[in-house]
């Protein structure tokens, strides 16, 4: 299996994703600079990591979506390739139209970093198949623009198609519509989520609930190959 982690100018969770993929999940992992035109051959998962690409100028993710690598990511996703966007990565995927809806500044207008509990809304996806709908998972959020928005029609589609992956469980930290924390595209091969599973993949850091997401992908890839 091979994981590619994209680095944009201003990405700052790219090394974290590489670390978890390589050292914890023990998968061959490559860093990809955003100016590349192609993804490394035989990539099984693309991670668009967190951070502040282009300093979040204008809107988070608005500029990074035009990076050369994003065309390759789009073709890859359209061909069914697996993509996870975490935090800024989620924002980039939404701006790029690879996921529906839009992201707005937190209702509090403040950056929020804290541990949250998530309800797993579906296990019918390559990213959540090893999770349990009855066991909420805990991990940090750390963002300024995490208020997910989609119009009523879009929301209905998300629901009927089981595209909502995670919801914030107790309180809604950022005013996100219906407490949405993560969504899937219609074909379930692209996941975007605001919380950081890579920061919850080692006992030492307080939670290993995030690792379940990466393990789900690993399992999916292994079964399919």
């Amino acid at each position: 299996m091979k994981i590619s982690v994209v680095t944009f100018p201003g990405s700052n969770c790219d090394e974290d994703a590489v670390h978890v993929a390589r050292n914890i999940l023990e998968v061959d992992t490559v860093s990809v600079w955003h100016e590349e035109l192609e993804l490394p051959p035989e990539t099984d998962l693309v991670i668009i990591p967190g951070g502040f690409s282009y300093g979040d100028a204008l809107r988070a993710g608005a500029i990074a979506r035009f990076s050369p690598i994003m065309e390759a990511v789009r073709s890859y996703a359209e061909a069914g390739g697996l993509v996870i966007g975490i935090c800024n990565g989620f924002q980039i995927l939404v701006e790029a139209g690879l996921l529906p809806g839009a992201m707005l500044p937190n209702a509090s207008q403040k950056f929020i970093c804290k541990n949250v509990l998530l309800d797993v809304e579906t296990t019918e996806s390559p990213f959540t198949c090893e999770l349990d709908k009855d066991s909420p998972i805990g991990m940090p959020i750390a963002h300024h623009e995490g208020r997910y928005y989609i119009d009523a029609e879009g929301l209905a589609t998300l629901k009927s198609n089981q595209q909502i992956a995670f919801r914030y469980r107790d309180e809604n930290p950022n005013g996100s519509l219906e407490s949405i924390a993560g969504i899937l595209n219609s074909t379930k091969n692209v996941l975007g989520m605001m919380p950081h599973p890579e920061r919850a993949s080692e006992v030492l850091l307080g939670s290993i609930d995030g690792l379940g997401i990466f393990k789900s992908v690993k399992h999916t890839v292994e079964v399919n190959s």
């Binding site: 809806g101 707005l104 500044p105 209702a107 207008q109 928005y149 989609i150 119009d151």
Partner: protein, 79 residues
Amino acid sequence: MQARMIVTLRQGVLDPAGEAVKGSLAQLGFNSVEAVRLGKVIDLELSETNEADARAKLEEMGNKLLANTVIEDFQIELL
């Protein structure tokens, strides 16, 4: 040419920042403020000399990058 783009949240999209500003204004005694909505202004200096060209370009910039039309509307002003 100087141009200004005003980007505002679409109707129906909640604006908690605007609400918060309204609250703070009320706290400062500005009770005549009935509603507040926040948006962005983007001032651009363009080398175009023809108004129509400039407008067309700005329209394109707005749709492509400067506004996210899922949540935002934009207006163009040439100064």
